[in-house]
């Protein structure tokens, strides 16, 4: 029986800010959309995130961050993926990111930034349309 490939995504929380409620909510929304969601927990370094993403063979990494971590941690994640030859993994981010930074992040290869106010439905829909099992 030929089985369709399942979308695998990783939800990661880089940086030092404290709670992961947002990450857990988005993980549940992904599960309900039929994705397999690898959750890695709080306080992850980009190195740890990238290593986990490779071992787990995910199609997308969703980074979430509240405290301005995007400026260093998001770009570093993309850079590491490129170094490892794993830049076919889509990276997107969520959190409070000022408009002027969004352009910068997109330029360096973050596919999408979800700013506060984006609904779960919108996020899931974007993933369904833009992330295909590789």
């Amino acid at each position: 029986m030929k089985q369709k490939r399942k979308v695998r995504v990783m939800v990661a929380k880089p940086g030092l800010d404290g709670h992961d409620r947002g990450a857990r909510i988005i993980a549940r929304a992904y599960r309900d959309a039929g994705f397999e969601v690898v959750y890695t927990g709080l306080h992850q370094t980009p190195e740890e995130i990238v290593e986990a993403a490779i071992q787990e063979d995910v199609d997308m990494i969703g980074l979430s961050s509240l405290a301005g971590a995007h400026k260093y941690l998001f770009p570093r994640t993309v850079e590491l993926l490129r170094e490892k030859g794993a830049d076919d993994i889509v990276v997107c981010g969520g959190g409070i990111v000022p408009d002027e930074d969004i352009e910068m992040l997109k330029e360096i290869g973050i596919k999408k930034i979800f700013t506060p106010g984006t609904t779960l439905e919108e996020i899931v829909k974007w993933v369904e349309e833009n992330v295909k099992p590789r």
Binding site: M1, K2, Q3, K4, R5, K6, R8, A27, R28, Y30, R31, D32, A33, G34, F35, E36, V37, V38, Y39, T40, G41, Q44, E47, E48, E51, A52, I54, Q55, E56, D57, K84, G85, A86, P133
Partner: protein, 322 residues
């Protein structure tokens, strides 16, 4: 040699990760890679950890990783979580507890979902074990939630099967004993900081003595240990028991028979044949539309399911309908 085989044997993490994905997704080409890898398997020692949700399995695995790594042995982990029957998706959260090992190149951690596809969890997990084995990992730890028959079958594949309970689970132990208790080689009462540990210990001992048939008259008596995996208490002692069990398996003839017995091979090959047959036949019948046609005919009252089944299956097997 197959490129994939070459890379996996060389320990290439991306190739290993991808091959496990292909196994899970049921890509037919993996069979060739698995055939090529088989000669490189048989060196890893497989430990299965099972128990009810939240008893502390992943926390335990995390501590095991630290201790095994101190001895310079490498480890692969397969952590299985249930697929949601409603969406087909899954949240794979075991990794959270083990993430401190993610930068260690001697550790490979992979989260898997039960999925419930044809061929079953057992088959795909066995193949994933073979891949990590061929990759050169000394130990492979498989974590599953001990609820469904599938998950129990998976840990039965292991050399040493570990069953984790927590204090005060008396009734739950009753509930799981049918499928699980007799498969256990080592029992752990985790969260032994909690009340009721001694009572659980004696309940468990009684039940094991009544239920264990596997080692009847044998030399291995499954030990029951207390652990507090969160503070690493009892984990070293537990690993010593694993080594003892390993020694028992490799050194006693009785043990060797358990591990490589014809019975075990027969069971595994039987399952493989069964799954493959179902896969091949059902996918052909679906492709040609015969299956849907038969459904329609039954619904319309033109035939009965018994005749329809004969008509579908027998010709595929080169047999004639009665």
């Amino acid at each position: 040699m197959d490129k994939v085989v070459e890379k996996v044997v060389a320990g290439d993490v991306r190739s290993v990760a991808r091959l496990i994905r292909d196994i899970d997704d049921g890509i037919p080409e993996v069979r060739e890679s698995l055939k090529g890898l088989y000669p490189y398997t048989g060196n890893a020692y497989v430990i299965g950890i099972t128990g009810a949700p939240g008893v502390g399995k992943s926390t335990l695995v995390d501590q095991m990783l630290s201790h095994i790594r101190k001895k310079d042995k490498t480890v692969g982990v397969l952590a299985v979580d249930p697929t949601s029957p409603f969406s087909g998706g899954a949240i794979l959260g075991d990794r959270v507890r083990m993430q401190r090992h993610s930068m260690d190149s001697g550790v490979f951690i992979r989260s898997l979902a039960t999925r419930g596809h044809f061929g079953g969890l057992t088959q795909s997990t066995r193949s994933a074990i073979d891949v990590l084995d061929a990759m050169g990992k000394d130990y492979i730890i498989v974590e599953t939630v001990g609820v469904g028959q599938d998950e129990v079958d998976v840990v039965k594949t292991a050399h040493t099967t570990v069953i984790v309970v927590i204090p005060g689970m008396g009734d739950d132990i009753q509930a799981i004993k049918a499928g699980i208790l007799e498969t256990g080689d080592i029992f752990l009462i985790n969260k032994a900081d909690r009340e009721g540990t001694d009572k659980t210990m004696s309940d468990l001992r009684l039940m094991i003595e009544m239920d264990q048939r596997k080692y009847e008259g044998g030399k291995w008596k499954p030990p029951i240990l207390k652990t507090e995996s969160i503070i690493d208490r009892g984990v070293v002692e537990f690993l010593e028991e694993v080594e003892k069990h390993k020694k028992y398996l490799t050194e006693t003839t009785e043990g060797l028979e358990l591990r490589k017995s014809k019975g075990k091979v027969r069971e595994e090959l039987g399952e493989m044949v069964k799954n493959r047959l179902i896969q091949e036949v059902l996918s052909k019948l679906t492709e040609t539309g015969e299956f849907d046609g038969a459904v329609q005919a039954i619904v319309e009252g033109k035939t009965d399911p018994y005749s329809a089944c004969d008509a579908l299956v027998l010709p595929r097997l080169g047999l004639h309908t009665g």
